[in-house]
Amino acid sequence: MTTRRPNLLASLIAWPLVLIIAFPLAWMLLTSIKPAAELFTRTPQWLPRSITFEHYTRVLTETPFLQYFGNSMILAISTTVLVILVSVLGAYSLVRFRYRGRETLAALVLFTYLLPSVVLISPLYLMLVKVGLANTLASLVAAYMSFALPYALWLLRSFMAGIPEDLESAAMVDGASRMGAFVDVVLPQALPGIISTALFTFILAWNEYLYALVLVNSDEARPLTTGVMNMLISAFNIEWSLLMAASVMMSIPLVILFAFFQRYLTSSFGAGGVKG
C-alpha cells in the first residue's frame, strides 16, 4: 500500500475538536501537579505557578494504590479474556449455524440487559456467598461478564455477519476443518470487532464502581475504583490533589493500551477482504 499524504483539511477540523474533548484531561493533569495552595484561586488559573509531584508520590507511597492497580489489572484482563472467548464462540454459533430459536436466543441475551443493576446486587451477592466466592475478584469477574456478554455477542455477531461464507467454504474445500477455518479465516477478518469488544470490556471492568463497592470489601481484592474513591472522597471532604493524581494514573494506562491496540483496529486485514 502506498503511504498517503496527511489530510491537512481533516487535521484542521479534527484537532480542535480533539482538544476540546480532551480539555478535562488537561485540567486534571495540570491540577495534579499544582501545589494544594493553588487549587482554588479566586480567578481560576490554567497553568501552575510551581510544579510539584508530591501528590503522585503521596498516592504511590502512602496508599495501597499499587495493590489496587494490580487488582484492577487482573480483574480487567481476566474479564476481557473470558468474555472474548465465550462471545466469539457464541457469536459464531449465532451467525453460522441454523437452529431453532436462534433469533429468540439472541433477543433473550439482550433482554437480560434491561433490568437496572441496582436490584440485581442483593440476590447476586447472596448467590456468590453461597458459592464461596464473596469478597474475591472472581465474584467481580462473574458479575462483569454478565454485563459484557450481551453486547459482546451482538457486536461480534454484526461483525461476523459481514464476513462472507465463501472464504470459509474455500478454506474447507482446501482441507481445513470447521474449527481450523474459523481460526484461520474468520478470526482475522473479525479482528477489528474483537479488538473493539475487548477494549469495551476492559474499560467496563476497569471503571465499574457499584458492584465493586458491594461485592468486594477487603483490600486484597479491592480494585482501583472503589479503593481510590473510598480513600479520597468522603461526605465532608475530598482530597482533590490526591484524587487528580490518582485519576491521571488510573487513566493513562488505558490511553496507552488503546494507542497500542488501535493499530489492529485499522489493520489491513479487513480492508481488502473481498476482492473481485
Binding site: L120, S158, Q189, S247, I256
Partner: protein, 286 residues
C-alpha cells in the same frame, strides 16, 4: 450448538437468577438490610403507577435519553469519519478522543462539577473573558441548564463507544466501493450517504440499541452531577430505583420500579428490532 453453551451458562447463573429474584421481590414489601418482608401482591405496582412520580420520571428519563443519545451518535459518527482520515498524529488523536470513556464516571463528574462551578470553575471564567456571558452561569442548579448540562456531559462521556464501533466498521468497507462511486462522479457528501451510511447501518443499529438501553439505565452520572435536582428536573427512573432500594430501604418497591423500567425498555427494544429486521429484509430483497 455447543459453542453457545458457555454463554448461556454464564448468563443463566449470573443474570437470569437475580433477574427472577428481582421480579419475585417486586411483589413483596422488603426491608433492604434484612431482606425480610411480607407479600403485598400488586400493591407496589399500584402505588407506583398511581403516584405520578413514575410518569414524570419516565418523561424526564426519555428526554435525557433522546438528548444525549442524539449527541452521542452525531458526534460519534462525525469523529469516527474524521479519525478514519490520515490526519496528523492520528494515533494520539484517537487515544485522546477516547479518553472520556476511559475515565471513571465518579472522577469525571467531580471534574465537570469543578469546571462548571460559578466561583472557581474555568468554564465560566473563559466564557466571561471571551465576552460571551456577563455573569457566571448556573450550569447545574437551574433548569433547563441542568438537563442540558447532563446531556452534554453524558455525550462527552459515552460518545467514544460510538467512535470505536463505527471506526472498526469503517475499516472493513472495501475501498473498491468508494472507487466505483468516485468514478461515477459522486462527491464526498453523496459518497457518505450512498456508500458509507448503508455499510454502517448494521453497526449503528446495534450501537443505537445498546446506547439507548445504557443511557436509559444510567445512574452514576446523573446522581453525582445533580442528584436529580433542581427539585425533580433531572430525576430519572434509575435514581428513584436506587433511592428506594438503599435510601428508603424499600427493596420491594425498588424492584417494582426496576421491572416497570424493564418493561418500558422491552417494548422499545422489540419495536426497534422489528423495524430494523424489516428494513434489512427489505434491503436484501431489493
Amino acid at each position: 450448538m455447543a459453542l453457545i453453551a458457555p454463554t448461556i451458562l454464564v448468563l443463566g447463573a449470573v443474570i437470569v437468577y437475580p433477574l427472577l429474584s428481582a421480579i419475585y421481590l417486586s411483589f413483596f414489601s422488603i426491608y433492604t438490610p434484612t431482606l425480610e418482608g411480607h407479600f403485598v401482591g400488586l400493591a407496589n405496582y399500584r402505588d407506583l403507577l398511581g403516584s405520578g412520580g413514575f410518569w414524570s420520571a419516565l418523561v424526564t428519563t426519555a428526554i435525557w435519553t433522546v438528548g444525549t443519545l442524539t449527541l452521542q451518535i452525531l458526534v460519534g459518527v462525525g469523529m469516527a469519519l474524521l479519525l478514519q482520515q490520515n490526519i496528523l498524529f492520528r494515533s494520539l488523536a484517537r487515544g485522546l478522543v477516547l479518553f472520556p470513556y476511559f475515565l471513571s464516571t465518579v472522577v469525571a463528574v467531580l471534574v465537570w462539577r469543578w469546571l462548571f462551578n460559578d466561583l472557581y470553575g474555568i468554564l465560566n471564567q473563559m466564557l466571561m473573558n471571551a465576552g460571551i456571558i456577563a455573569a457566571p452561569v448556573n450550569w447545574l442548579g437551574a433548569m433547563p441548564n441542568a438537563m442540558l448540562s447532563i446531556m452534554v456531559v453524558g455525550a462527552w462521556k459515552f460518545f467514544p463507544f460510538v467512535v470505536i464501533a463505527v471506526l472498526a466498521r469503517l475499516q472493513t468497507i472495501p475501498e473498491s466501493l468508494y472507487e466505483a462511486a468516485r468514478i461515477d462522479g459522486a462527491g464526498p457528501v453523496s459518497r457518505f450517504f450512498d456508500v458509507t451510511l448503508p455499510q454502517l447501518r448494521d453497526v449503528l443499529t446495534i450501537v443505537i440499541l445498546l446506547r439507548t438501553v445504557w443511557d436509559f439505565k444510567e445512574f452514576d452520572l446523573i446522581y453525582l452531577m445533580t442528584g436529580g435536582g433542581p427539585v425533580n428536573g433531572t430525576r430519572t427512573l434509575p435514581l428513584i430505583v436506587y433511592n428506594q432500594a438503599f435510601g428508603l430501604n424499600q427493596m420491594g418497591m425498588a424492584a417494582a420500579y426496576a421491572v416497570s423500567m424493564m418493561l418500558v425498555m422491552l417494548v422499545f427494544m422489540l419495536a426497534y428490532l422489528r423495524r430494523a429486521n424489516a428494513r434489512s429484509e427489505a434491503d436484501s430483497a431489493a
